[in-house]
Each structure stands twice: as C-alpha cells, then as structure tokens.
C-alpha cells in the first residue's frame, strides 16, 4: 500500500470538509495552505515511487502507473497553486462584501472536493469507476461555475451541465461496450473493467465492439476535454466561472478528460492497431485547432481568449497522441506545460478582473506598469502559450510537427499553418494588454489577496521556467514508460 497516493486523494476531502466545519477565516486559510503543501509533496512522492517501482497500489481499486503519476504531478502541482490562488481570490471577494463567510467556506469546500474527484479519476484501475469519478467532477464543477448566481454564470453552468452530461453519457456507453466484449474473456466481474487486465487481453477482444467503444469514448470524453465540435460549453464556462475555477477547468479537467481518452486508446491500439484511433484523434485535433485559431482572432473578452487557447492546446496534445511514438512523448509534455501556463494566464486574468470588474481586452492596457504580478503572469503565460522558447510548449510543438511530417507531410503543413495563425493572434492580444500606458485605475487589491495570488503565480512561473529549460531525469523516465504504454503509433506502421 502506498500511503502518499492515499493521502493525495484524501487530503483535499479532509481539508474541504474541515473548511466547511470550522467556519473561521484564519483557520480555513491555514487548512488550505496545509492542503496545498500536502498535495505538492504527495504528488512528488507518488511520482518518485512510480519511477522507482513502476506501479503503486492502494487497496483494490487505486493504482498509479507512469501515466497516472504523470497526471498526479500535473493535478497536484496546479491544484496546490490553484488552492492558494482560490484562497486569495475568494478572500478578496469576501473583503469587498460580495460573499459571506459561509459562502466563502462553501466555495473552498467545493473547490477541494472538485480537486479530489479529479485526483481520484486518474488513479483508478477501473474504467467504470473512472467514469463515476469524472461525472463527480462534472457535478462539482457545475456548482462552482454557477457559484456567483449571476444570470450569465447560471447560463454557463446550465450549458456545462447539460452538454457535459450528454457527453459523459456517451462515454459511459463506450465503457459498457468495452465491458460487453471483455466479460466473455474475463468473466462478469470487476476484472473485466480493469485497465491492466484489459491491456493483457486486448488482442482477444472483439474489434468491432472496441472500435465502436472508442468512438463513443472519444466523443463522450472529448466533450469534456473541449474538443471541437463538442466544445460549445467551454468558452462560456471558462469566461463566467469564478477565475480560480476557470484555471482548474482548463488546467486540470480538460487534462483528465484527455487522460480518459488515452486509456481507451491504449486498449484500442492493442486490439485493432494504432491507425484507427490515431486517425480519428488527428481529425478532431485539426478541427479544434482551426476553430480555436479563428475565435482567438476575433475575441474581445480576455477570459474567453484563454478559453479558446485551451481548445487549441488540447487539440495539439491530441494530435501528438494520435501520431504516436515521439508524439506521445510530446503530447504528455504538452499537457503538463499547458496546465502550468494556462493556469498562470488565468491567475493573471483573475487579478485583472478583480481590479477592473470587466473582461474587455480593448479596455485593458499597460498591465505591466500598473499590476506587475498580473502583467508578468499574462506576459509569461502568453509567450509560453504562443509556443515561443524557452518554454516547454515550444519543444512539444516542434516534436509534434516533426512527428506529423513523418506520418504525412501535408499534415505537418496544415498543422504549422494553424499554429502560426494562433501564435500571431494570441501574442498580439496578449501584448496589447500588457504593454503601453495604464488605462483605467480600478479598485486596488487587498494585501491578503496579493500575497496569496503572487505566491500562486510565482510557483507556477518558476516551475514553467525550470521544465522549459530541460527535462528533469525523473520525468524523462516517466515519459519513457508512458511512450511504452502506447507502442509505436502510426509512425512506425508506415
């Protein structure tokens, strides 16, 4: 039994329920800071154990292999900076009298439970319980998105819960189809739903059923990942949710939805070869890139801008995983760097929103001069998200271009063209906001809020800088075994 893995999932539940019970601001802050530290430490410990021994277990259902531990690192890291940010952000709202202490503790409790459901989802050795955990994250996220109870927030939350639930129902149908074909081999029991068992017997599973299951899973979990054309809930939810929630939606929830698709892909690849799943993923990835590049260009709302940029980056990661081989390496690297960069961007955007109380790009200028932390966050994240060195997203994009060239040269050209369009437009919008002379004065932020949010931004930027410059050896080992999970991909098939 691996206690860090257990603690990683249990800590947010304990801290969340604790916050609800104590109802005292200082105590809640201490509790949340302790949670942030615990998540960071336990995620690192789990990764360390996985690097050392390959797989770790807790009880019958929890299991972490390299791919799970990779997601643990992403969720643990962004989750802990996100918790600090949420404490600062929601605390500021309470200082301004928008929230009562009761609502404040409710928010943080929901926020922690949301993190817990996602951490649970990536550490399960069971495709059906994975579904339950992801649906759990949909439900907690729905409550968080509509937390403001403003008309726009309720609309966005409604859209999220309806579109998201339909998507996830299709995902469950895919899960049932896998079970339908695996129970003949593994028996009517939990064994027929375990990843590890499914990988083992994948070659014997019925190809037609697995193909259908993958299509349902791709559409279903793709809806939650914000893959075009099922992305319609995403910009609204990201724009209207309280900003700490937007950051977690983008950095964590989209990532775990991609994780679910990857688990199905690993089964499908073993059953029918990498071409089938790969081609479908490449197609949806290109569509997502095209849609997001166009909408980034016309965006007038900075939170929607980053939301569309998430669609773009999830598309890029899917393209990498679709190609396989080096693309899997790049895709996993892309997911981690995107989670860090995008949460940083939203942290900055949230501070700007707290100051000006509007989301219009046109009315925001000179952030670097007026709000150094928010300006730096948006600038650094903008450069990273546009795909410029010295950040990891540059590395992964170059690798994916190279990989797609070996599959089909046309694919690389289309990808490069879409990437260039998104690069120019995103950078233009971001630079417009951070440079120049400050426009409006706005309401300045309280010192409490500034300390917590600066800490969150600082942690993220430092991490982004470090993994931009090199791949730490431990992470390299993990990436190598993730690549092994998927086999060689389309590239080698040619």
């Amino acid at each position: 039994m691996s206690w860090p893995l257990f603690l990683l999932i249990a800590a947010p539940v304990i801290a969340g329920l604790g916050s609800l019970l104590v109802q005292q601001r200082r105590a809640i802050e201490v509790l949340q800071c302790a949670l942030a530290g615990t998540m960071l430490a336990t995620a690192a410990l789990v990764a360390g154990q996985v690097i050392a021994v390959g797989e770790v277990f807790v009880g019958d259902f929890l299991q972490a292999d390299a791919l799970s531990a990779w997601l643990d690192l992403i969720l643990g890291f962004v989750g802990s900076s996100g918790t600090l940010y949420a404490v600062g952000y929601v605390g500021e709202e309470m200082d301004r009298g928008h929230l009562s202490l009761r609502r404040y503790s409710q928010f943080l409790c929901l926020f922690d439970l949301y993190l817990a459901t996602m951490l649970l989802a990536v550490n399960l050795d069971n495709i059906a319980i994975l579904w339950i955990a992801i649906e759990g994250s949909t439900l907690t996220a729905a409550l968080l998105i509509g937390f403001d109870r403003s008309k726009a927030a309720l609309e966005a939350g409604w859209k999220f819960i309806i579109v998201g639930s339909v998507g996830i129902v299709l995902g469950l149908f895919g899960t049932i189809l896998v079970y339908y074909s695996s129970e003949h081999i593994l028996g009517v029991s939990n064994e027929a739903l375990r990843w590890s068992q499914l990988y083992r017997v994948a070659a014997e599973l019925d190809p037609a059923a697995i193909k259908a299951a993958f299509i349902f899973a791709l559409i279903g979990y793709g809806t939650k990942a914000g893959v075009a054309p099922m992305h319609t809930w995403l910009p609204d939810a990201h724009a209207e949710a309280p900003t700490p929630v937007s950051a977690m939606l983008s950095a964590n929830m989209l990532t775990i939805a991609v994780y679910a698709i990857l688990r199905f892909k690993a089964i499908t690849d073993r059953s029918v070869g990498p071409e089938f799943a790969g081609k479908l993923m490449i197609g949806l990835a290109l569509l997502s890139l095209a849609v997001s590049a166009i909408y980034i260009l016309v965006q007038r709302d900075y939170k929607r801008l980053f939301a569309y940029s998430s669609i773009e980056h999830i598309g890029i990661a899917l393209l990498g995983f679709g190609i396989g081989g080096i693309g899997v390496f790049a895709g996993a690297w892309h997911l981690m760097n995107h989670a860090l960069a995008k949460s940083t961007a939203f942290y900055g955007a949230g501070l700007v929103f707290l100051r000006y109380n509007h989301k219009s790009i046109d009315r925001v200028t000179g952030l670097l001069g007026q709000m150094p932390v928010a300006g730096a966050a948006i600038l650094v994240a903008g450069i990273a998200l546009a795909g410029m060195p010295p950040f990891g997203l540059f590395t992964s994009e170059v690798l994916i271009v190279a990989g797609s060239y070996t599959v089909r040269p046309e694919l690389a050209y289309v990808f490069l063209a879409l990437l260039a369009l998104a690069f120019v437009t995103l950078l233009y919008q971001v630079l417009r906001m951070v440079l120049g002379a400050p426009g409006e004065v706005g309401t300045s932020l309280g010192s409490q809020c500034r300390i917590f949010t600066s800490a969150a931004v600082g942690i993220n930027i430092v991490a982004l800088g470090i993994i931009g410059l090199y791949v730490p050896p431990g992470l390299e080992t993990m990436l190598a075994s993730i690549v092994k999970t998927f086999g060689a991909g389309i590239m080698a098939a040619r």
Partner: protein, 222 residues
C-alpha cells in the same frame, strides 16, 4: 437451463426492452411536462422489470439490487425532485418544440434503424438471452438525445437526459448482464446528485429569468 427456458427468457427480455422504447416514443409526442414525467416513471418501471427478468433467468443476484435501486431512485426519488421543481415554476404549460410531433416521430423511427445498423456487427457477440437489447438501448440513448435537442424548455431537456440514462442502464443490465455492483451504486449516486444539482439550477434560473426557456439563454455568446 433448458433451451426452451432461454427462448422464453429472451422473448420476455426483448418484450420489456421494447416497452422501454415505446415509452420513448410516447415522451416525444407528449406536450405536458407532468405527463412526460409520468411516462418516465413508467419507463423506469419497465427498466426495473427488464433487470429483474435478466436476474431471474441468469441467476445473477446482484441485478435484483440494481432493479430495486432503479425503482427507488428513478421511479420515485428523481420524479419527486422534478415535480417539486415544476410546482415552484410555471413550466407545466404546453411545451414549445423545435420540431413538430409527426416529424419528431419519423426522426425517432430513423434513429431506431440507425441504432440497429450501428450495433449489427457487435450483436452476435452478446449473451444469447439478451443480445438484441443492445440495439434497443442505443436507440433509446439516441432518442433521448433527440428529445434534448427538440425541446425548448430547460426541464424537458432534463427528461431527455434521463431517458438517455435509462437507455444506458438497459444497455448495462440487459446487454452486458449488469455492471459489478459497486459500479452500479456509483452510477446511481452520481445520477441522484445530478438530479439534485439540476433541480437547484432550474430553481436559480427561475429566480433570475422569468421563464426557463433555453432559447432565451443567450446572454453568453459570441
């Protein structure tokens, strides 16, 4: 088990799956929300009946528990929540639809054919007793999806979602002899919490908007 008993069992399971499908068609034609909910209750009872039949003919006892939970949660708890929401709002008038009833029925017919077409290559794989139920399950999921698109009021979209979920449960219990119990418990739990949250949402939307008409939900858009 003798062959004839499998035959009878298979006929009975098919019959009660077909009843679920017919209930879907009824929901498509009905205009009043409270009647839609009543048909949904009926459909959930059929679902429980199908599950009980499968449990009886296969001797897999945990499916009885799933049948019982279906009755408790889908035929009692969720309809109660929905009816409470209706009482508080004025959505129980004639429902506006984006598609009229005859063409709606035609589309549903086409969806059933599509479902059989999609599952054709997979069906021979299933257990003898229940394998045709998979096609019916997919048809119900698709029709549920259609109901969500075809109706304008927020609450009828919820009905569509619940119908989809019934289709899934049919797929899981009838076609695959039930998921393991812990999985079913989890899915029921999520469903119940989901119904609560949807109830909270419609209630709050009711407070901010005068009428929960999703075609008026256009504040957030490009």
């Amino acid at each position: 088990m003798a062959l004839s008993s499998i035959d009878i069992g298979s006929q009975l399971v098919n019959l009660s799956s077909a009843l679920l499908l017919i209930a879907c068609f009824a929901i498509v034609t009905l205009r009043r929300l409270s009647s839609c909910i009543n048909v949904y209750i009926l459909q959930s009872v059929f679902l429980a009946m199908t599950a009980a039949l499968v449990a009886f003919f296969t001797d897999i006892h945990h499916i009885y528990i799933s049948a019982l939970l279906t009755i408790v949660i889908k035929a009692v708890a969720i309809p109660l929540i929905l009816k409470k929401v209706i009482e508080r709002s004025d959505v129980n008038r004639d429902l506006e639809m984006n598609v009229n009833v005859p063409s709606g029925l035609l589309i549903c017919g086409a969806l059933v054919i599509l479902a059989f077409f999609i599952t054709q290559p997979i069906i021979p794989l299933g257990f003898l007793l229940t394998r045709d139920s998979l096609a019916i399950a997919l048809a119900i999921v698709l029709i549920g999806f259609f109901i969500m698109i075809a109706r304008k009021k927020a609450l009828t979209q919820v009905i569509g979602f619940l119908v989809m979920e019934n289709g899934l449960f049919l797929g899981a219990t009838a076609a695959a002899y039930g998921m393991p119990l812990i999985v079913e418990l989890g899915i029921f739990f999520d469903l119940l919490v989901g119904a609560f949250i949807i109830g909270i949402y419609t209630h709050q939307l009711q407070d901010t908007l005068d009428n929960v008409d999703t075609s008026k939900l256009t504040t957030v858009k490009e």
